[in-house]
């Protein structure tokens, strides 16, 4: 590191003035050393906004129109896909690239103003949200959305919070999103779908803008910040999962605003009571909205405080950081104590499943999950696989090129004092975000396991907070070539497009558009009008709150459209038993199930997710290798005293009270 013959760092920061070149090889290995140093830490071009122009709209109106046109074509593609057009999925992805790439190209252009960059981010955020709406334009279709829809319906109907949600009991204790949605719905008369979509859209705009101002505070560059935000949109959870009507969609906005406020407070000369009050307000709101995100914020703030401690910050600043992190830890704990949340056991289950997955993965020296292949054997097309793999490789490459450069920007230095090496740095927030990227490979590896996949996917949401800024530093600090501005912008814009498309494929893959035909246990591909009509029938003719036993998808439909009470997943096991034995009778006695939904379509093909009820309840069971035996579902009809009260040719509803009564 002491050798400075290759490229010098640009701590002075003159635009595009990296000095030096490969020096003559002075000693063996110098060439190798210079090559590696060139790739990993030298040079770093100027990242400041020195060349940014005066505030102007620039290309923002034109790109808004391009985005809207791309969304319109995407809507046509979604309709074509419903009619079975095979080309439509590729065209749908190209529509997304059609506005992300030009937005990214313009964003990294050196003379683009800060004002324009903010608008470009808003346009990209709106565009991606509209893509999500085009995917599901008339109702909720994703699994988690139904869980929170049920909670919001309960609030609207009972005018009470904390009512038991049979679909996701823990969500009752974190009603932040549902409060905001129910409030808007009850005042405006909008449906939960419309009100929830507006709340999530608002939260999403806050989320992206908060990330921008956070990066801008840390790096001092609107160019790096805007590109970092676009890279963040390449996270596998960004476009669909975190845009769902689900508590983390709102919680992420609170997390980023709270982290920004913590950084702003540290940077301020004096502690401002106003900032602290706002921070308390936001952290408290987060604690009532989502448990995992609350703990993630607590972890981030604690890490920040620890770095400030070792940085040797002034006692008052250190005190502030420690106080804030302590508050961020205590508030969610206090909230879960106050409401009597079982969040601990819920999180414990997730960790247990993840650890189980990691163990399996280590035992099998790889992963038990076949990438890009569903449990039913359907494989993703080659172009999807290539894009997703390219996005991961690109991210890894950018992290390799940007990691040390970002550390350098954080002011990290290794000083030798006698026989000791001392680490010093000036920017704890940037250092923290850079270190956070170390969790990215972990999130990728966890995806190789079918049980660790979910945890890995969610971990990437946090990992990408660091990935965004580090990849932006690599792209603008190393890949950018001043002499070829147009080419550099185009390349970086195209790479941002690959990242975003790869993220979507990694997150939802084949489910990006709703399948034209019903698929067995495939969540969004299994939600269709006939099942909804059956659920409506139950609500109209049986009345609400009957206890129902059903498979994963019908649990969702009957709990929301049907307003029925689904039994616990574990108590639904009699549905899949070959006969009603003593164990099944005990289970039905316990759950007091009154009706069972018998969906014969479950026997048509292999369940896409590999299970019929839910992942948790069947983790000990082998994945289905052949479609469900129809006789398993027909057993209720052979039981004396059991009635078939509803029949639509594919689904029947059995009155099984005779089996559940003492």
């Amino acid at each position: 590191m002491a050798d400075t013959t290759a490229f010098s760092l640009d701590s002075a920061g003159k635009p595009g003035k990296a000095t030096g070149g490969f020096a003559a090889v002075r000693r063996p290995f110098n060439a190798v050393y210079n090559g590696v140093s060139f790739l990993l830490w030298r040079p770093t071009w100027d990242l400041s906004d020195a060349r940014s122009g005066a505030a102007s709209w620039g290309w923002a109106p034109q790109l808004a129109l391009v985005t809207a046109a791309a969304v319109y074509v995407a809507a046509l593609c979604a309709n074509a896909h419903r009619n079975g057009a095979e080309w439509s999925k590729l065209a749908f992805y190209l529509c997304i690239a059609g506005f992300i790439v030009p937005v990214a190209v313009r964003t990294v252009w050196p003379s683009t103003s800060r004002w324009e960059r903010i608008w470009l981010l808003v346009i990209a955020t709106l565009g991606l949200f509209l893509i999500k709406i085009v995917r599901a334009p008339i109702g909720f279709i994703d699994h988690d959305e139904f869980l929170h829809w049920r909670a919001a319906l309960d609030i609207l109907e009972t005018q009470q919070l904390f009512t038991h949600n049979p679909l996701l009991p823990v969500s009752s204790f974190y009603p932040g999103l549902e409060i905001a949605t129910a409030g808007l719905a009850s005042v405006s008369g909008l449906s939960v779908f419309a009100a929830g979509s507006l709340v999530v859209l608002f939260a999403r705009l806050i989320q992206v803008c908060a990330l921008f101002i956070l990066y801008a505070r840390i790096t001092g560059s609107s160019r790096v910040s805007a590109l970092g935000c676009l890279v963040y949109m390449g996270c596998s959870t960004f476009v669909v999962f975190n845009a769902q009507f689900s508590y983390e969609s709102l919680a992420l906005a609170f997390l980023l605003v709270a982290f920004f406020l913590a950084v702003a407070l540290q940077q301020a000369q004096r502690a401002s009571l106003g900032v602290i009050a706002v921070l308390v307000c936001v952290v408290s709101a987060l604690a009532t909205t989502h448990h995992v995100t609350s703990y993630a914020l607590a972890g981030l703030l604690l890490g920040y405080a620890v770095l400030e401690l070792f940085r040797g910050a002034y006692a008052t600043r250190l005190g502030r950081a420690l106080l804030i992190s302590a508050f961020a830890i205590l508030v969610p704990l206090a909230w879960s104590k106050i409401v009597g949340s079982s969040g601990g056991s819920y999180l414990g289950r997730i960790f247990e499943i993840t650890i189980h997955g990691v163990e399996d993965m280590l035992q099998s020296f790889g992963g038990d999950r076949q990438l890009f292949v569903g449990a039913d054997g359907t494989a993703a097309p080659v172009w999807q696989r290539s894009t997703a793999i390219a996005a991961v490789l690109l991210t890894c490459m950018a992290l390799a090129c940007g990691f040390l450069r970002a550390l350098d920007k954080a002011g990290l230095k290794i000083e030798r004092v006698k026989f000791r090496f001392l680490l010093t740095w000036t920017n704890s927030a940037l250092l923290l975000l850079t270190l956070l990227t170390l969790t990215y490979p972990v999130s990728v590896v966890l995806r190789l396991s079918s049980f660790g996949w979910e945890f890995g996917n969610r971990l990437s949401t946090i990992a990408f907070l660091g990935v965004g800024v580090v990849v932006a530093v690599a792209a603008l600090g190393f890949w950018w070539v001043d002499r070829y501005e147009r080419l550099s912008s185009a390349v970086i814009g195209a790479l941002a497009g690959v990242l975003v498309l790869g993220g979507i494929i990694g997150g939802v893959g084949q489910f990006v558009l709703v399948s034209p035909t019903y698929r067995v246990v495939a969540d969004s591909d299994s939600i269709e009008p006939m099942g909804i009509s059956a659920a409506h029938w139950a609500r109209t003719w049986l009345g609400p709150n009957n206890t129902f036993m059903a498979d994963r998808v019908n649990r969702l439909l009957f709990s929301t459209y049907g307003r029925q009470r689904a039994v616990e997943v574990g108590d639904s096991s009699p549905l899949l038993a070959k006969k009603i034995g003593e164990k099944e009778r005990l289970s039905m006695l316990r759950s007091q199930a009154a009706f069972a939904v018998i969906d014969m379509r479950l026997t048509y093909e292999l369940p896409v997710f590999g299970f019929v009820l839910d992942s948790g309840s069947e983790k000990a069971m082998p994945v289905y290798e052949e479609p469900l035996d129809p006789m398993v579902l027909l057993k209720f009809g052979r039981q004396p005293g059991v009635s078939r009260v509803f029949d639509n040719g594919y689904m029947t509803i059995a009155d099984i009270r005779v089996l559940s009564d003492d």
């Binding site: 309709n79 909008l190 609170f254 709703v514």
Partner: protein, 250 residues
């Protein structure tokens, strides 16, 4: 015994996806918009005051969005506590909060005007393009909605049979709804313990419509009695198209 044709609850299975739990009108939408606007004004006023020396206008604007959402959550918790978590409770509490924070509303005005005054000039051409983008986005969503509504994979008929009353009741409700997308001709058989007790033929039902009848079957509630309904379609009397039954034990 009565039988009738009733309009469907909804115009078709596709439209059931869009069922609205509420009924939005222009007035209620305006009230909702105004309530959301007032909450954001309150949030931005408080934020501007709190972050006066720490954050730029844009930073304060972003934070104010989160503060507004936090205020909504806080209000919701309070309304739950006092048992008024409904539209009236929301409107009154937002009004009270606006009065209480009135001195801070100046900060909100300063924040928004600060941003608006510094905005760069927008030419007529740019404004036209932005307006076109908004219109095109709305058209795109409408296009997607039309496509989703019109997509129906399954054509089907729902048949149901329910006992009207407790286990001892001999009153039943039988009905079916045509979701076949075309008008269909139906026939119905009612059996008690396998014995044919009633027959209907030539029931013509339009798509989306239901046919419902009340059945009085004296003695059908006795021990081991089974009331069964068989539905036939388009004159095919060989195979029952749909089949439902109610057992006395149920």
């Amino acid at each position: 015994m009565i039988s009738c044709l009733i309009p469907p609850l909804l115009s078709g299975p596709g439209s059931q996806l869009a069922i609205a739990e509420g009924h939005v009108t222009a007035a209620s939408a305006l009230v909702g918009l105004a309530a959301a606007g007032v909450i954001w004004m309150i949030g931005s006023g408080l934020t501007k005051r709190a972050l006066a020396d720490t954050a730029s206008n844009f930073e304060a604007l972003v934070v104010s969005g989160a503060v507004a959402l936090a205020l909504v959550i806080g209000l919701g918790l309070i309304l739950h506590g006092i048992g008024h978590l409904n539209a009236t409770g929301w409107l009154v509490s937002i009004g009270v909060l606006a009065i209480l924070t009135f001195p801070y509303l100046g900060g909100s005005i300063a924040l928004f005007t600060g941003i608006l005054c510094r905005r760069p000039h927008m030419s007529g051409r740019d404004a036209l393009m932005l307006a076109s983008a908004v219109i095109l986005s709305v058209v795109a969503i409408q296009e997607a909605r039309n496509g989703a509504f019109s997509h129906r994979e399954f054509a089907f008929t729902e048949l149901w049979l329910l006992r009207d009353g407790d286990k001892a009741s001999d009153q039943f409700v039988l009905g079916f709804t045509n979701h076949e997308r075309v008008t269909a001709m139906y026939g119905l058989d009612i059996l008690v313990d396998g014995r044919l007790v009633d027959v209907w033929n030539g029931i013509e039902v339009e798509p989306g419509k239901s046919w419902i009848t009340a059945l009085s079957l004296p003695g059908a509630a006795g021990p081991s009695r089974r009331v069964e309904g068989l539905l036939y379609k388009n004159g095919d009397r060989e195979t029952a198209y749909r089949r439902v039954w109610v057992e006395s034990g149920a």
